[in-house]
Structures are given as structure tokens and as C-alpha cells.
Subunit: 425 residues, 2 copies
């Protein structure tokens, strides 16, 4: 892992970071565009064709509820318990995000904001090697807390193989509408509807480049959550930090994929050196060491700063997805943080707690978008409608103002709605 | 205005509605792409070039604060009062949307959600003929309520002419950073930054097709608000409605532009006929009658239903931007509404009240996106960060669960962050 000290090195590293996930080849763009167009036109026929082609099976599109239970039986009981504990924690946290409709009456006028859940949501869960039950929990639970009535879930089953833990999570949350489809074709099916799948209002969930691009392309037709880029961790640490813990947390990010980014920012030369030693030791034992090594080499760095204030400034500029603060007084530091998806304070809060069980969502803004985006939450599954009800008195109080503004904006018919009610037309 | 009664007619009209705003010519796409690329590369030089070309002036990019005051002096005092009253109402409504950070502690674990305003926001206000002070109020006030520190505002001044009412609204709200630029070049300047304009985190505000497309293209680099389509009103009315009021409200929407859509859905044949008569009478007096007539012809309709229940179902399917309910008991009807940007209840709540002075935002989801989108609000100018702090006890309670899930997800280094802290590595 490279050690950066001077401003030039740091700023060229930051530029590299920003660029790491940009650009999709023209070929992939065309492929996705064609798949979407075909699904829109031919529905299930196209779905079946692409499932046969990419996932190499011809099983029915829908997974029967009885089959979900059957697949889930192959899951280890201990892991089921872990998922149940996690689900409860995630549920409790997201309940705090609930919003209520409100209204108030003043001078003969009722104004308010009606909060309603989205009617129908589609959730994409990746399949194959990267098939994670935690994805099910983190995407389904906020939708359920919001009160979404219809939840459709798509999870591809490459070679017809179904992940028992994903099925266990689905069964646990009571989701009945589950399809064994994936890729751009699944996104198209949820966005446009087919004979077997009803069109949804919003699509959420992670996926590979084909899925991400398809979501981007159907946006507008339906809503989507964020387009997640490669994962990131940034650790601010001082000399009080435990180097072994820091190294372990860095590696947990680096093992995700070669584009993942892991950064330590510290004012302690001693810590930096110890972390490097620890990384070497811990890395060698890992199954995914090749991925982790490549990720660390390209997008990993230890940034040495004069003081913690400078570390905070750099962190705010990067706006990381995950920010761990392992300093003497992390609660003090967090007050100066302006941009981060989630902050993990102190040595007993490794980021993987948040991936699975702590409660907050693991879908977080990446690539610097924490400057303006939020974690996935209940607020992503509701919509608001403004409510206005005037009586005659309330109307009269505002009528002059509305007429005056309509006149200078040159909208005569707007002004007429006022004049005609006053009997002045 | 056509009268639709049978289901086939109605459903083909709904299809027409959905399509009315789709499709941008390849030429416009290229133009916008080129302008953005040039602004990104050449900064102010490109800005000045395009301002000279499209707005036909060479005035400085920034409008001096003293000049804002000078321009504002030309505004009619009565209108200023109207804007002040509106601003106060808008402020009061949006204050109700404020959200507070929260956290809770349980079993040695602190979890929470930190709410922070966006740091820097760019607001686009159209210039020229469609330059509206209400746009300033409706976009600036929610950002100010959210606590956004830096607000930069762009308003083009075609032929160097500055709208005194727009300047009055800007002065009233204390905005100091104002640029006389417009079009795709203004969006590019806010998204990428130039020598005179610092990059923003989010761009909001309406604009023509060039502005809308530029916003879409810079999305991801910065956040944007919704892409507003042409305006819409849908009125549900029964025999108790005042036909003159209904007609006036329809025309206030139809005068916006030829793509605007105005729909009356009623179970009363008598009302339908009276509204048609009223439309003919009122239309003839209007300055913008040609626009209104074209809009009514193409995207206007009176839909005759058997009962109000059927009217509600069609309204929910259309998911209109503005929904007026003029029936005997509108408060009863509104409970059955699932999708609408804003609802206006009863005969004393014409939609223009909401455009200017009532309080709720006039930036509303169009084109059926009320299925999943909300009015512009304070929530558009904040971001959330999850907060996690575990002590050793809290960590130990979850450690088995996290390790178990990490193991079955095949993420060994994730499990290691747990094992190493337990001393088990």
C-alpha cells in the first residue's frame, strides 16, 4: 500500500479515485439497450430466451412459495438465527425513519403533506457467487416499514442453482412474489411489465454493470435507487488505534473487488508502519488475497497528515461510503464530518457490523455522492402529496397577492381563476 | 374539448398523455453535449461565448449585489408586497418539513441518523419571457429552510434585459451570488465549476429543453431535482361544482403551453355541458388563447364516468401534477387518492393559489411520476449519514451473527474483523 504525504500526490490520488468507476463500453451499452427493447416488445418470450442464454436453464419464471420454503430448508440453522437477529435490528432502526402525514389549519386554510407508501416495488438481488441474504434484508425491510403493499423480487439462479440463504431471508420476510430472472432482462421486466410480471413503480437493489446500466436506462419510466459504485472505506486513526483492527477493516473492504478502495488517514507515523506490517501478515492468510492485493495496490493508500484536522478535511473531500474513526475521542471528530454514507466510531465498530446486523442500511452512497445522497431508507419507499383546502375567507386573504403575481408573470388565465371567484369577471 | 365516454377512447387518450413529452431530437442532444464539454474544458471563455451567442450581450457573468438592488427598484410596490406575503407563507409551510438528527442507545450501542444540509446548491431560474419571481421563492426557500450555506443562482438576461421582479425576489431572500447566464452553459458551469463559478453539489430549478437535457446529462456528477415535464391539471367534479370556476381553472393550465394537459372527469352530464359553454366564453377573452386552444384540443378532455369512484380510479392511473376536487365532500374523496403531486379541495382552492402564495411548493411531479416522486421540499436539500458506535459489550452480542453471515457470504476478511477483535485470530 502506498504512503502519500505531499499535497500533489494526495490530489492526484483523489482524482484517480473519482475516475475509477466511470465509463461503460459502447458494446455493453448496446447489449443492454437491445435486451431492454426486446423485453419491452416480447415480454416473457424475451425473458425466457435470455435466461436460457445467460443463466443456462429453462425453469419457470416464478418461484413457487412452496419451493422457496423447500430451498430454504438447506440453510444452516445457526445462520438462520443470525439472519433473524439481523432482521430484527434492521427493522428497529428503520422504524425510526417512519414519517407521518401532517396538516394544519390557520385563517380558514388547511395545508398539509400526505405521506403514502409506493404501491409496487421491484427488488433486484444478485445471483450466483455474489448472492447475499443481507441484500434481501437491507432492501426488503425499509420497503415493508414504509408500508409498500406489493414487493416483487428478482434473483437469478445461474445453472438453475438456488441459494438457500437468500431463500431463507425471503421466506423470513414473507415475500411471496419471487422470480428467478436476472440481468438487464429482469430490470426490463420490472420496468415495463410482461405477461408474468406486473410493472413496478420503483426498482432497487445492487447488481453488476448490466443491471446498473439497465436501471439507469429505465429511470424516468420508473424510479430507481442510487447506482452503486465499487465499495470504499476510509479510516481516520491516531496513535491510539489498534493496528491489527485497522488492517483487518481495510482488508474487509479490499476483498470485495479490484475496484474497491481502502484508505487510512493518520497523523501517526508509527501506526502507519504497524498497519503495513499487519496488512502483510493478514493478507497472506486470505482466500481472496489476489483480489485484495490488486485493490490495495491500485486504490488503496495510507495518507500521512500533520494533524487530525487535515485528515478530516481530506475525508470530507472524498465523501466516503464507509468512514471509520479510530481516534482518542471519535465522538468529537464526528461533529466535523460533513460527507459520509455511514460513520463507525471507535475500535469496537468494524464496518462489517453495519453490513449485516447493526441496523442501519448497508446500501450507501459511493464515489463521492455522499455529498448529496443518503443511505437507502424508508424515505425511498414513500411519496408525498401536498394538500390545500381554502374556504372563502382564506381565499379572500390571498386573492390580491395571487392576482398581482399572476398579472406580472403574464398569466392572465391564472388571474382569472381569482377574479371569477370574486365575481369580478 | 373532446368528451370521452367509453373505455377504449379513454385508454388511448391516456397513452397519448404519457407520450406527449418524450423524445428529444438528436440535434438538440448533440448541441447540449457539446456545450457541456466546452464549458467543462474552457470555463468562463465558453460561458462568455455562449452568452454572447444566445443571449446577445457581453455583460459580466456575475450580477453585483448593488445592481440586484438597483434592478429591483423598478418593481411595483404592490407586487413586492404580494411576493413578501407569499415568501412568508412558503417559509411557514416548508418549516414543517424540517427533519432533525436522532440517535438512540441500547445494549452498549449507539445508532443514529445525522441530518445535514447540502453544502452548496445551484438554482436555475429561466430568463426572458418566462422569467418568474415565483420560481425564485419556490426553489430558494426550501434550500434556506434546510440550512444550505451557499446558494448560487443563475438567471439568463436575454438582450441584457433583467426582470425587476426576479431581482426583487432574489433581494428579498438575501441571495448574493447571482449569475446572468442561462441554458446548458449555465448548468455546465454549476456542475463542473469555472473560474468565476464554484462547482455545486445539486442543481434545481425549471428550464427549457436545453436546460432539462443538460441537467439529465450532468446527473451523477452532481445531484438534480426532477426533470419537470409540461404542466397538468385534472379536476374531479360532480354536479355541485361551479362550471365557471372549473372552466377558469382548466384555462389557467392550458395557457401555460401547447403541451399542457387539462382534464375534467365528472359523473354529471349537465356539468360537462356547462363547462364546455364556459370554456368557449372565457377562452375568447384571453391574450394567450391560441396556446390554450391548441393545448385543449390536443391534450384536453372531459371524461364522463358512471360515478365518482370511477373518476378516482382514472385519476390514480394518470397520477396528475395538480388534482382539484370539486365535489360535495372533497375531504372524503381525497382519502381514496393514491397518486398526485398536490390536491386542491373545494371550490375556493383554485390551483394558482398553490403556484404563488398558499405555501406548498409549486415544483411538482409531472407525467405520471407522482406514482413515485414528491413535490420539491426541504428533504431535497438535506442528506443523511448513519451513525454507529459499539462498545465491547455491544460488539460481543452481535459478533457471532456477523461472523456467521460473513462466512456463508464467502467474505472471509469480513469475518476476520470480528475474529481479530475477539482475539480469535
Amino acid at each position: 500500500m502506498k504512503v502519500l504525504k505531499d499535497n500533489k500526490e494526495i490530489s492526484s490520488f483523489l482524482k484517480l479515485l473519482r475516475k475509477r468507476a466511470s465509463g461503460v463500453s459502447y458494446e455493453i451499452q448496446c447489449t443492454v439497450k437491445n435486451i431492454l427493447a426486446e423485453v419491452r416488445k416480447k415480454g416473457d418470450t424475451a425473458l425466457n430466451k435470455y435466461t436460457h442464454k445467460f443463466d443456462k436453464h429453462d425453469l419457470p419464471i416464478k418461484i413457487k412459495t412452496s419451493d422457496i420454503a423447500k430451498y430454504a430448508k438447506n440453510a444452516d440453522k445457526k445462520v438462520i438465527k443470525a439472519l433473524e437477529l439481523s432482521a430484527k435490528r434492521i427493522w428497529d432502526f428503520h422504524k425510526k425513519q417512519e414519517e407521518k402525514s401532517w396538516s394544519f389549519k390557520k385563517y380558514g386554510v388547511i395545508l398539509g403533506q400526505i405521506i403514502m407508501p409506493l404501491e409496487r416495488v421491484g427488488i433486484y438481488v444478485p445471483g450466483g457467487k455474489a448472492s447475499y441474504p443481507s441484500t434481501v434484508l437491507m432492501n426488503v425491510i425499509p420497503a415493508q416499514v414504509a408500508g409498500v403493499d406489493e414487493i416483487a423480487l428478482c434473483v437469478p439462479t445461474p445453472d438453475g442453482e438456488t441459494n438457500p440463504y437468500v431463500m431463507a431471508a425471503i421466506e423470513m420476510l414473507g415475500i411471496k412474489e419471487v422470480y428467478r430472472i436476472g440481468g438487464a432482462q429482469a430490470i426490463g421486466a420490472m420496468a415495463y411489465g410482461t405477461e408474468s410480471i406486473k410493472k413496478v413503480d420503483k426498482i432497487v437493489g445492487p447488481g453488476n454493470i448490466y443491471v446498473a446500466l439497465a436501471k439507469k436506462m429505465v429511470f424516468g419510466e420508473v424510479d430507481i435507487d442510487m447506482i452503486a459504485g465499487p465499495s470504499e472505506i476510509l479510516i481516520i486513526a491516531d496513535k491510539t488505534a489498534n493496528a491489527a483492527f485497522v488492517a483487518a477493516d481495510i482488508l474487509s473492504q479490499a476483498e470485495h473487488d479490484e475496484l474497491a478502495s481502502s484508505i487510512l488517514i493518520t497523523n501517526s507515523e508509527v501506526l502507519a508502519e504497524r498497519v503495513i506490517q499487519e496488512l502483510n501478515t493478514q493478507l497472506n492468510g486470505l482466500k481472496r488475497k489476489d483480489i485484495a492485493r490488486k485493490s490495495l495496490k491500485k486504490f488503496g493508500a495510507i495518507i500521512k497528515t500533520k494533524d487530525i484536522r487535515e485528515a478530516i478535511n481530506i475525508a470530507n473531500e472524498i465523501a466516503p461510503e464507509h468512514l471509520e474513526i479510530m481516534t482518542e475521542n471519535p465522538a468529537h471528530i464526528v461533529k466535523m464530518i460533513k460527507n459520509a454514507g455511514a460513520v463507525f466510531l471507535g475500535q469496537w465498530t468494524p464496518e462489517p457490523l453495519g453490513d449485516y446486523s447493526a441496523g442501519p442500511n448497508h446500501t450507501l452512497p459511493t464515489g463521492g455522492t455522499a455529498r448529496f445522497s443518503s443511505p437507502l431508507g424508508v424515505y425511498d419507499f414513500i411519496k408525498r402529496t401536498s394538500l390545500l383546502q381554502f374556504d372563502k375567507k382564506g381565499f379572500m386573504i390571498l386573492s390580491d397577492a395571487v392576482e398581482a403575481i399572476a398579472n406580472i408573470e403574464g398569466l392572465e388565465a391564472h388571474a382569472n381563476t381569482i377574479r371569477i371567484r370574486r365575481g369580478g369577471v
